[in-house]
């Protein structure tokens, strides 16, 4: 039994075991710690001793025992005089019906971990641990912070859940859209964190991408009526499909137009395109779904010059209606330039100049630089590339922007 197989098994089992335990004992906080300890025990024992016949029951038993131990030592602390007689728990198995309909627990956990009372870093950390079954050390390594920092984010998150009185239940119907949006935002944040990586620690971090896709797939399965869940999964698939081509052998960023499209993952593209097509036919166009549709148009072009830019412009028009924000307008500028020429695109870029959030953002200068280069205004383009390089806080982006600028040197 390889540890990889065990790991997959444990990650899938984590939310189910936690759900059963919380339903039985309440106290999400203590149950989550107990499950984490059971997962750690399994991760060390199973690869050597083999997976038990009933892995779910094994985890539940160990977690329940940890929970009892914890309560016992707590009450011992409170009252050392009186011996608290608690019987050793027997082999625990979920009662029939106790697990509830398949996956409901996972969905409840996602809602709980992404509760609006929690800060974004706490939501992310707690979701990866309680629903994803990752250890604190793994999450810390992926986000490049010390383990103690990540542990603190998790315990703060739990504390917030406790003080907010949040329950392990489905949100009320009128709250559901906002709560679901919060879950999707957390999953997308995890995805981006893994996807944009291109450093020496890339391996650990791209694991986040796989984890986000796995959880988005789960969310889509559990919310079949939600177009945005499908959109989110499709967007991740259609983006992740390009991962092998987005950097060259030296780790430098390769822009979409110059990527070797034969290196795109066709299986992911096909799944994403099918998902977008099917969902658009039955659901209103939400932001994730429209972004997925844009990614699909890119991914369907086998050569950059075959890209249907007019369709992309139309999709951006829809996107800026359902989610108006200057970053969408900026991306739209690129599409407009490709469809109608650089001057038309530059007009859109200029329309954002009065927005201070944009002019201190490297992306605005980078897009402007590209379009100026397209228009043949090389001196201005060079200055804009340099300004973008100065403003970015990403090393690969700075390197890319500097090399674009250098290409225009006479």
């Amino acid at each position: 039994m390889t540890s990889r197989v065990v790991e997959d098994l444990l990650r899938a089992a984590a939310p189910q075991v936690l759900g059963t335990l919380v339903r039985r004992h309440g106290q999400f906080d203590a149950c989550e710690d107990a499950v984490q300890e059971a997962l750690l025990a399994a991760a060390t024992q199973w690869p050597a001793q083999g997976v038990p016949e009933k892995p779910h029951a094994w985890l539940l038993t160990v977690a329940a025992r940890r929970l009892t131990d914890e309560w016992r030592s707590e009450s011992a602390r409170r009252d050392r005089e009186s011996a608290v007689a608690t019987a050793e728990p027997e082999q625990v198995e979920p009662e029939p019906g106790e697990r509830g309909p398949d996956g409901d627990d996972t969905l409840r956990l996602l809602f709980l971990c992404c509760h609006p009372e929690l800060s974004a870093p706490s939501q992310v950390a707690l979701t990866l641990r309680a629903v994803g079954g990752l250890t604190t050390a793994e999450i810390a390594a992926a986000f490049l912070v010390p383990e103690s920092t990540m542990a603190q984010r998790i315990s703060r998150g739990k504390q917030r859940i406790r003080t907010a009185g949040a329950r392990f239940t489905m949100p009320a119907p009128q709250e559901r859209p906002a709560r679901l949006a919060a879950v999707m935002q957390v999953l997308y944040l995890v995805f981006s964190e893994g996807y944009t990586t291109s450093g020496g620690d890339a391996l650990q971090r791209t694991d986040l991408t796989a984890e986000a896709v796995r959880l988005a797939r789960e969310l889509h399965r559990l919310t079949p009526g939600e177009g945005e869940s499908a959109g989110l999964l499709a967007l991740m698939l259609l983006t992740d499909a390009r991962r092998a081509a987005r950097t060259d052998a030296s780790g430098a960023l390769v822009p979409l137009a110059e990527q070797d499209r034969t290196r795109w993952d066709r299986t992911m593209v096909d799944e994403g395109v099918a998902l977008v097509t099917d969902t658009l036919a039955h659901h209103p166009a939400g932001p994730y779904l429209v972004q997925a549709a844009i990614a699909a148009v890119h991914d369907e072009a086998t050569r950059a010059q075959d890209t249907d830019w007019h369709q992309i412009v139309a999709l951006y028009r829809v996107l800026s209606r359902v989610e108006p924000n200057p970053m969408v307008t900026l991306n739209q500028a690129v599409a407009v330039a490709m469809a109608d020429g650089p001057d038309a695109g530059l007009d859109v870029v200029e329309s954002l100049r009065s927005d201070e959030r944009m002019t201190i953002h490297h992306r605005w200068h980078a897009v402007r630089a590209h379009l100026l280069e397209m228009a043949g205004a090389h001196d201005e383009a060079r200055a804009a590339y340099r300004e973008a390089a100065r403003l970015t806080t990403s090393l690969p982006e700075r390197r890319y922007l500097e090399s674009r600028s250098a290409r225009l040197e006479r």
Binding site: L144, P146, M150, S198, T247, L253, T393, L395, Y400
Partner: protein, 122 residues
Amino acid sequence: MKYMLLIHNRPGFLDELTEAERTELFGDVDRIMGELTESGEMVGGQALADPSTAVTVRGVDGRPVVTDGPFAESKEQFAGYVEVDCASVERAVEIASSWPDVRFGGGVMEVRAVMQDSGAEM
């Protein structure tokens, strides 16, 4: 987003403080470090030895030349740093503003974003 809070202060300023002020200063540092750990924003930090113990290496005619002492001649010298992972530059500035060196002894805090190794293709 990760930020470095670079602490610059005047070497020897601690000696000019009263015992009570020194106790307050160190107490403040401990408290802020504790709060940052508690809030899950702390990444790390170090204090540096006195600048008079520094060794400076300069390139002269393409060759390294080693001299004793710090390289900068300014009144304030680099004394240490705190690295935080926080929600915004405003929050990083807020933490820097609370640093006791600013209040005692005319310390200077510089807030700089830390470059990431991840980036978006364009």
